[in-house]
Amino acid sequence: MEVRVANVRKEFERFPALHDVSLDIKSGELIALLGPSGSGKTTLLRLIAGLERPTRGKIFFGDEDASQKSIQERNVGFVFQHYALFRHMTVADNIGFGLKVRHGPTRPPAAEIRRRASELIDLVQLSGLEKRYPAQLSGGQRQRVALARAMAIEPKVLLLDEPFGALDAQVRRELRRWLREIHDRTGHTTVFVTHDQEEALELADRVVVMSQGRIEQVGTADDIYDTPNSPFVYGFIGESSSLPVKVENGEIWLADRPIGLQAPHASEGDATLYFRPHDVELLDGCSGCIAGTVVASRRVAGTRRVELEIGGERQRVEIELPVDHPAAQKSRVAFRPGRWKLFPPA
């Protein structure tokens, strides 16, 4: 089912949580809402579910206006960060709940509900645990039950609110891969909220980056990572370094020296240069480069991260070097960013 969010605004007691947000979600797509806390990502998810009502704007499921429908009528599957399982019900009863509460002819017979529950238990790889209570399961198992419970009602959309947030790193990675598999197999349109960029980039078809109640950028992992369209996205996704620069005659200047980067289309005057610490070219001599004094050097996993002080203003930037690179021993390092972008001064 396609989901279209059209010009939605949401205020909580006059405080705006979302400003005029629009988003098109394609049928069968796996979408991540990514942002820091307070960015409005959970609010957007809850609006789609019908757990909140928009102050303005509409939400469409296909061609149907869902914004006037109650939560019960929307038929969405929602998975909560803290599972929200019914603790007095067994795993099988939890999963069958959504079918059992149906009325009249839409309610399948008991045997059918049982069959469907056991199918889903197999799908989420919890066979043999049907009779357990949630208290007898691990965190990862509980979240699987929650997902099976949400899928039992054949939802139009599957919505997951920080589904792996309460789990430890190992289980998280495992469940992430597993969720992707399940999605590929079942093809539900799925939206999940996360503040973990690695999770979003690895798992989602498209990532929606949000900040302060607005959508900053929507795109594939490659789009978002390689061509961030705002300083926020540059800073939020992956590592980034920035320097205040000046554009003169299509050339970028750092203080009183050109650094060898051409920016023919940039507007003249002050700007901020963004680049990735790992995407730099190290240079020997320095005519047309950025040079700085090494003030700190840290080993981070497979690379060495070096902090440099640049120019008289002592601007600090970070770059990454291969672990065994001789430049790490030197007191002065010269480099030029590979891929970079200019934004108006902060």
Partner: protein, 283 residues
Amino acid sequence: MTTAPAQAGWRFRQPSVIPGFGLTLGFSLAYLTLIILIPLSGLIWRSAALGWTDFWAIATDRRTVNALQISFGTAFVAAAVNVVFGTLVAWVLVRYRFPGRRIVDAMVDLPFALPTAVAGIALTTLYAPNGWIGKLLMPLGIKVAYTPLGIVIALIFIGLPFVVRTVQPIMEEIDKEVEEAAATLGASRFQIITRVLFPGLAPAIITGFSLAFARGVGEYGSVIFIAGNLPYKSEIAPLLIVIRLEEYNYPAATAIAAIMLALSFLMLLIVNLVQTWSRKRYG
């Protein structure tokens, strides 16, 4: 080759790393012995002096049987009523924010603090045939004061806080997300309450019931004013004990007390077993 020793049938639960298990357990046992066990065994001791035939005669005396029926019957009905309305009061206090909520919240505890005789006299004044409420009920043919119904009303008053105060904290712990999850799955408001919320509260409600019931069985002060105390009709067992004491008939008094003790213990034991069972299930 050694094999693991067979597990003994009885074993202390593995004590935690926090020291003092032996000391605290010893103290608890000594304390309970001093405060509860010694007085109660004194009671049994005294009634045992009676001899089996006499004891049986007292136990099966119609006045005793009626008094016990009235005590346990009214306490049961009152506790059942309190379970329904006490849960409702707790619901209102937990779920809604309204002006004066704190005052209502404090009011729930008043039956704890008020001398029970005061409550009894106040209720009697209200429900007597010429009292404010009694006057209105009279034409309908309902007599409250000086009947078992009056006893039930007094016990409802006394028992309410027990239910509210045991259910309230558990209700506060209910995760809003659980209700939201049920709603997204298509459950109506009514289904959420009956299928999701209520089963989760059941253990607390059972505890509240047993506390209110136990309190009702033993209640004396408020009941004697409103009950009318007609032998065979509205005489409660604790009053009968006092009457026997005033007649210096100590063996009869202790015999009735021992029977009450046994019955109460049995009922609380059953409630506790139900609790253990439900706790095991819900973890």
